[in-house]
């Protein structure tokens, strides 16, 4: 008979799971889920048509879980590079609290469950779009683009931009071109947001061998690209007020937010991407930009639905 005592709990012991429910919740990437639930809700509120409150809440819940499922699949596949990056090394899989197979099974079960739930609660077009979103994030972005091209987040950003389209489809059973404007806003917002982060975490990405733009093309090129995308995003952010999706008040707010976004990109350009404070400022402001823009849309949508104006 042999005894092995005092093994460190962070070392995985075969057959003994150290995971708590909180670890599984972390696999869902709660902060990303917040953005998804928010933008999908905006898509639902802005869409013409109606749905009973309970089915709408269940649909939103399903979209949120679907986003979480893609996060779990991402953490399963990326455990090797997450282990090398300071920002991600304490995640449940690289830290050993959740076994890779458990994360994979968790992600698959939630993916199938969330798509089925959305189909039952809303319609199968919305469910199909959610399935495509999960596939795009987990397979196209995580397994293919992320490790192979510096354009990873440009194309991969489509996954993060789809929730308002899914939300729109929940109410209408169709993909309205108005919802594609919401898609475009998030799609164009993603690169400057993540490139600002990549400038700050360049060493992390280099160690993990992830070809982010600053590592491949340099900080100066990244600074230019951040400005170009900001210049395109700013006017696109105003478009909802020109297509009847939002009021001129929204247009003024979006124009102001867009002007600040461009202004925030300028010091990054002037320093050729070396000014860390400027990159940090851009990263933080880009979150504010998207939040305020969609919050304005949400408020206008709710006001319109309640018939206050």
């Amino acid at each position: 008979m042999a005894y092995v005592n005092d093994l460190n709990a962070t070392e995985p012991v075969p057959g003994v799971s150290l995971a708590t429910p909180r670890d599984y919740f972390e696999l869902l990437k709660p902060r990303v889920m917040q953005l998804v639930v928010f933008t999908a809700l905006v898509g639902m509120v802005m869409a013409p048509g109606s749905i009973d409150l309970f089915s709408g809440a269940v649909a939103l819940f399903a979209i949120t879980i679907g986003a979480g499922a893609s996060g779990a699949l991402n953490m399963w596949y990326d455990a090797d590079i997450d282990r090398k990056m300071a920002r991600t090394r304490l995640r449940p899989v690289p830290s050993g609290r959740v076994a890779p197979g458990e994360a994979l099974a968790f992600g698959i079960v939630l993916s199938v469950g969330s798509v089925a739930l959305l189909g039952l609660a809303a319609n199968w077009l919305a469910a199909g779009l959610l399935a495509f979103t999960i596939f795009f994030y987990a397979v196209i972005y995580t397994m293919w683009l992320k490790r192979s091209t510096p354009e990873n987040i440009v194309i991969g950003g489509a996954a993060g931009a789809l929730p308002p389209v899914v939300g729109w489809a929940v109410l209408t059973g169709a993909v309205g071109w108005e919802s594609l404007v919401l898609f475009a806003i998030i799609f164009l917002w993603t690169p400057p947001h993540f490139w600002a982060l990549a400038l700050l975490k360049e060493e992390d990405y280099r160690r993990a061998n992830v070809p982010m733009l600053p590592n491949v093309a340099g900080a100066a090129v990244t600074a230019h690209r951040i400005l170009y995308y900001s210049l395109i995003l700013a006017p696109v952010g105003v478009v909802p007020s020109f297509i009847g999706l939002a009021s001129p008040v929204y247009g003024v707010i979006a124009a102001g937010l867009g002007a600040v976004l461009i202004w925030k990109a300028l010091p990054i350009l002037r320093s050729a991407g070396t000014d860390r404070a400027a990159a940090r400022g851009m990263f933080g402001y880009s979150l504010v930009y998207l939040f305020v823009l969609f919050a304005a849309l949400l408020v206008e949508g709710i006001v319109a639905r309640l018939g206050w104006f």
């Binding site: 008979m1 092995v4 012991v13 429910p21 009973d52």
Partner: protein
Amino acid sequence: MAVEQVAMSSPDERITLTDDQRRRRRSRSIAIAVILAGLVVLFYVITMVKLASTAVDPSL
């Protein structure tokens, strides 16, 4: 945190869980039970809502 692993010389190898591991397993079990119960309620209510809307509008 200590893990006491007892390896038997016989084919009947066993792992004795520590209190912490037992507590974590219990919390996972409770979470799974709560989620399953929630799903049962959720699917029941969805079914009722769909049935009710069909009853109101027989064309659906």
